[in-house]
Amino acid sequence: MKINMSHGSGGKASAELMRNIFGKYFGNEVLDKMEDAAVLDLPGKIAYSTDSFVVTPVVFKGGDIGKLSVCGTVNDLLMLGAEPKYLTAGFILEEGLELDQLETIVASMAETAKKAGVVIVAGDTKVVEGRGGLFINTSGIGLIPEGRDVSAANCEQGDVILLSGTLGDHHACILSARMEIENNIASDCACLNDIPNTLFQHGIHVKTMRDVTRGGLATVLNEIADTSQCGVELREDDIPVHPEVMGFCDILGLDPLTMGNEGKMIVIVPEEDAEKALTLMKETAVGRDAVIIGKATAGKGVVMKTRIGGSRVVDVLYGEGLPRIC
């Protein structure tokens, strides 16, 4: 069966959709009250974030838009040192969407939320004309425990930058699917809870965390360099890229440094904590390929030490495909 306009009418079809799909998977104490708003009892400092998800295809190797929409917001909360607690989910469904597919996605969302320790406390669904697509918005709330101060502005000269794993997987996976190319590249889509959890538990002085999403590592590091008034120095050899992803990028002229990921983050710690932080990250499933990729310097911008000992300025992505070579 497919989604049609009646599913968004507020009538019987809507109620069925609520009960058979959203209620079935998301059911929890707050949501089940069916009030106009969720009432939450929250102490202390709160982190609050929102994000919309529009990926095509909606199901891909390694994940789907549902998983993505939970991971995206959970990760954003985590990066501020918060412990994610509650999510809301807004769905925009296009006419013609298969109900089965919707169910798969909602189930995947529920499972991801459970793993990430968040509860979906409010939601909304609209149906629009279209071609069977699906868009999700999530927003989330997390609590920042007393004494935690994680911010891009905290990065100082001499600090060490760690990356949780390989670059470009999600982007390459989505592009492969869009191009209908068969390969083994899977999205890295994942909630990153384990990394901050273990680092904080073991008393690592975490200064800055950022998830490496759209715009890639290049964008994230340039933002950090700007905000913190530090330079960032990377070593080309230390940047992990899966060989199949590298081959994929080569032929399309893409740079893994500017490609999006959905389950990767950087952590910036003082030099004395670096090795310990690396060991802890490697012990987690989402950080098993973690590496130290560079350090903050007295300079400006992001510079990568190349294999031959030179340096290349790493810029943020500008448009698509524009070459400089003459």
Binding site: L175, R178, M179, E180, I181, F248, D250, I251, L252, G253, L254, D255, V303, T306, I308, G309, G310, S311, R312, V313, D315, Y318, G319, E320, G321, L322, P323, R324, I325, C326
Partner: protein, 820 residues
């Protein structure tokens, strides 16, 4: 009898401190002319009373016979009220106001100094740094003007009594020669060997006798100082003959040096420089030696011998294996009968050898011992040339491929690579303007006062910038590609330095349109920091303007601007452009039809990808059938990715690039699949065409469809149809390459005729990196001239992106003139 008049001849250029006034006086005496000559604020003024014909003849002789180090940038003639002179006199210098400060370029060793270098009884016998008033380093050692010894890095070497005597003697050829030195007081040749080598001289494989036998003259020198040089020289020779690489400090930076006869050494050098494919320049002792390996015209000989001593691209002769043994490790004595053919590893697939002659005493001495020698800028890949000892020692410590560093303590202030030039159409054309030319300005005719100053930032590749003051444009040296931070830093450092030296405070900044060029971002920041306006100039317009600037063209010009990539005003990638240019503006009158291409910098290097994009484009339009493609192309496993990207618009761009079309044709024809260095596919395609010409083969007929069909008016579909057909028929790829060159030249002819009909313009400018292609250039010149076009091309700056700054400068000047 013709009327006699009085004129003032104002000469801008390197005309002070080079014996210019005495030369003018002598010349005037020869002509029997009366008047006066004086230095005035950096210029020379000549006032004469004579007939116009005779004055003209005098000027011709002046330009032709000027002293070697003198450089005339611009001459202006003004008529004065009639004056009667009794004789011709040199007047004392007048301070005047500082019109346009000029600093001489570095000058290669003069014949007099070379003779002294080789003359045993001379006090400067075998002095590696011998120089005089008319030769020696200049720009590379200067700190500030005026060019005096204490303002150069020679200040670390106080003159000895002997040198001071010459320096202060009005009649000596070293009178006021700022770089004067000798064994007693000058820099010494010093050396340090890699840790892998024992440094006791007992381990030197060249014995004293052997050294003497093969002409290591230092050993038989009488002076102890000459002997001091002999030890490092013997080591250098020993290492080179044994197939090692040494670093040698030259004028504008270090060189890596090894023997072009030793394949093992050259391979190691490729390793060291991380340079897989690019040919290496070879330095020869003299013209005769070059002739053993390259063919050479008179013009090429003259260019090789010119004071800048540029690297000249010469067509290589087939190397004849001599009957000698292959050069193996061994002593100098065995060297004499080893094979002296330049190994393929030096030039790889190139049909040219970059040949040049020594420019300093040290190089002469080393070449005499074991030349010819590969002498290539000491840098790694695209990094700047190394100039300081510390950096070179560090490299040697970390790199086992480098056996020794041969240095001296004279500091290099400014890094300069060797210049590269060639002869095209019977005259010299610059490919890389650097040592021996920088920083002598170009004169670009305009009405701006000296208070109007411009900074023109140049491009991204083969970069250089220009700073202008009134009509004089000071073009910087070559910085290579601005991809490394080191190159970018060097660019900025040299900009500051040059602004300081020439006292230029720009009131306008000009840069490229490309948002990703370092120079664009830098200029935006620069302009806002200095609160001056910024002008962004389209890349191919700048190419054409560089030709207009050099030839002082006025009115409209048809610019044929062909290269790899430039950012267009529509956000697309341009590169096969016909632009009608005038003053500071241009109209785009035609271009290669846009083709959607897989983007990114790396894609630009891959000819096979360009080829696939072109094939896909024409198949989509129904101009070509998939089944027509050669089997290998149909079966290429990379298709799905390229097709997928094009179909779904993933990382793609619209491109009218001629460079990419050359790449596509080279790849499709099975000639070259990737550009391992810039332009390799196009160079290989040209090589194939050259070989077809040599073998007397007929070109495969092919042509572009010119008309209104596509938005650019130039459709390559018929070209691809012809090539695909020829490939299926198994036709020699040389014939395909030649046919393609013909088709491009013919297309230019047709387009130009069309534009002339519509716009009435008869002047054409050929520019952009594609016109480094000699066959295309000469074919096009021939066709256009036959049609009566007046054709111009770059002379003093490269047709490649090295010339971009001059074009930007020209457009900036026009912009300022219009504002005024």
């Amino acid at each position: 009898m013709k009327e006699t008049k009085t004129v003032k001849i104002k000469i801008w250029g390197i005309v002070q401190g080079v014996g210019f006034r005495p030369f003018v006086a002598k010349l005037a005496d020869r002509f029997g002319m009366k008047g006066e000559v004086l230095n005035i604020g950096g210029l020379v003024d000549i006032v004469l009373s004579d007939t116009p014909d005779r004055i003209e003849a005098f000027l011709e002789a002046l330009k032709k016979e000027k002293p070697v180090p003198a450089e005339i940038v611009h001459i202006n003639i003004l008529e004065l009220p009639y004056r009667d002179f009794e004789s011709f006199v040199i007047l004392d210098s007048d301070e005047g106001d500082d019109e346009a400060a000029m600093i001489p370029a570095d000058l290669s060793i003069c014949p007099d100094c070379l003779a002294e270098l080789q003359e045993e009884r001379n006090p400067r016998f075998q002095h590696p740094f011998i120089s005089c008033m008319v030769c020696g380093p200049r720009y590379t050692i200067i700190d500030k003007i005026p060019y005096d010894r204490e303002n150069t890095s020679m200040m670390d070497f106080p003159m000895c009594e002997f040198c001071y005597g010459e320096y202060t003697n009005r009649h000596d050829r070293r009178y006021h020669a700022q770089t004067i030195s000798c064994h007693e007081c000058g820099p010494m040749l010093e050396y340090r060997l890699s840790g892998d080598y024992p440094t006791e001289s007992s381990s030197l494989k060249v014995s004293r006798q052997e050294a003497a036998a093969i002409g290591l003259i230092g050993w038989k020198g009488s002076g102890t100082d000459a002997q001091k040089n002999a030890e490092p020289l013997a080591w250098a020779m020993n290492l080179i003959l044994n197939g090692s690489i040494i670093a040698l400090k030259g004028v504008g930076g270090y060189y890596f040096v090894c023997s072009p006869f030793r394949e093992d050494a050259v391979k190691m050098l490729r390793n060291l420089k991380i340079r897989e494919e690019k040919p290496f320049a070879v330095m020869f002792q003299n013209i005769e030696e070059i002739k053993n390996h390259c063919s050479m015209s008179e013009e090429e000989e003259r260019l090789l011998l010119s004071s800048a001593k540029p690297i000249v691209l010469l067509e290589r002769k087939q190397e004849r294996k001599e009957n000698g043994k292959a050069p193996g490790s061994g002593t100098a004595a065995q060297w004499a009968d080893t094979d002296k053919s330049i190994c393929e590893e030096v030039y790889r697939s190139s049909r040219f050898i970059g040949a040049f002659l020594p420019s300093m005493g040290l190089q002469h001495m080393l070449l005499e011992l074991c030349g010819p020698l590969i002498m290539t800028s000491a840098n790694l890949s695209d990094m700047p040339i190394i100039k300081d000892e510390e950096e070179m020692f560090a490299l040697m410590a970390s790199n086992p491929n480098l056996a020794g560093v041969f240095y001296n303590e004279r500091k290099i202030r400014i890094r300069l690579d060797d210049s590269v030039a060639r002869i095209i159409d019977g005259q010299p054309q610059m490919i890389r303007r650097s040592k021996g030319y920088a920083p002598v300005p170009l004169y670009i005719a305009n009405k701006l006062s000296k208070h109007k100053m411009i900074f023109a930032a140049g491009g991204q590749l083969k970069s250089s910038f220009a700073l202008s003051k009134g009509p004089f444009s000071y073009v910087s040296q070559y910085f290579g590609d601005l991809d490394s931070k080191e190159a970018c830093d060097l660019y900025q450092e040299n900009l500051d330095r040059m602004k300081e030296l020439f006292r230029i405070r720009p009131n306008l900044a000009v840069c490229d349109l490309h948002p990703l060029y370092f120079t664009t971002k830098f200029t935006e920041e620069y302009a806002s920091r200095h609160n001056i306006p910024i002008l962004k100039v389209q890349h191919h317009h700048a190419h054409v303007a560089s030709v207009m600037a050099e030839h002082h063209l006025k009115g409209t010009v048809i610019g044929i601007s062909f290269d790899g990539t430039g950012y267009g005003t529509d956000g697309n990638v341009w590169g096969g452009e016909f632009l009608l240019c005038e003053g500071a503006g241009f109209d785009r009158l035609g271009h290669l039809d846009y083709v959607r291409m897989v983007g990114g910098d790396t894609s630009m290097k891959e000819g096979f990808k360009s080829s696939m994009c072109y094939l896909y484009h024409h198949i989509q339009r129904g101009e070509l059938q998939w089944e027509d493609l050669p089997q290998v192309w149909q079966e290429d496993p990379r298709w799905p990715m390229v097709k997928g990207a094009l179909e779904h618009g993933i990382n793609t761009i619209e491109s009218s690039s001629m460079g990419r079309l050359f790449d596509a044709v080279a790849a499709l024809s099975g000639i070259q699949q990737v550009n391992r260095y810039e332009g390799e596919c196009a160079i290989m395609l040209e090589n194939e065409a050259a070989s077809a010409l040599q073998r007397g083969l007929e070109p495969v007929p092919m042509s572009f469809a010119i008309g209104e069909a596509g938005p650019g008016g130039i459709d390559s579909a018929p070209i691809f149809r012809s090539i695909v057909k020829a490939l299926r028929e198994g036709i020699d790829k040389g014939r395909i390459a030649l046919g393609f060159h013909d088709a491009v030249a013919e297309m230019i002819r047709m387009k130009c005729i069309g534009i002339r009909k519509e716009k009435g313009t008869n002047e054409a400018a050929l520019t952009g990196g594609v016109f480094q292609n000699k066959i295309l250039m000469e074919k096009t010149l021939h066709l256009l001239r036959k049609e009566g076009f007046q054709v111009y091309y770059n002379i003093s700056v490269g047709p490649n992106d090295g010339g971009i700054c001059v074009g930007q400068n020209y457009i900036g000047m026009h912009y300022m003139e219009n504002k005024a």
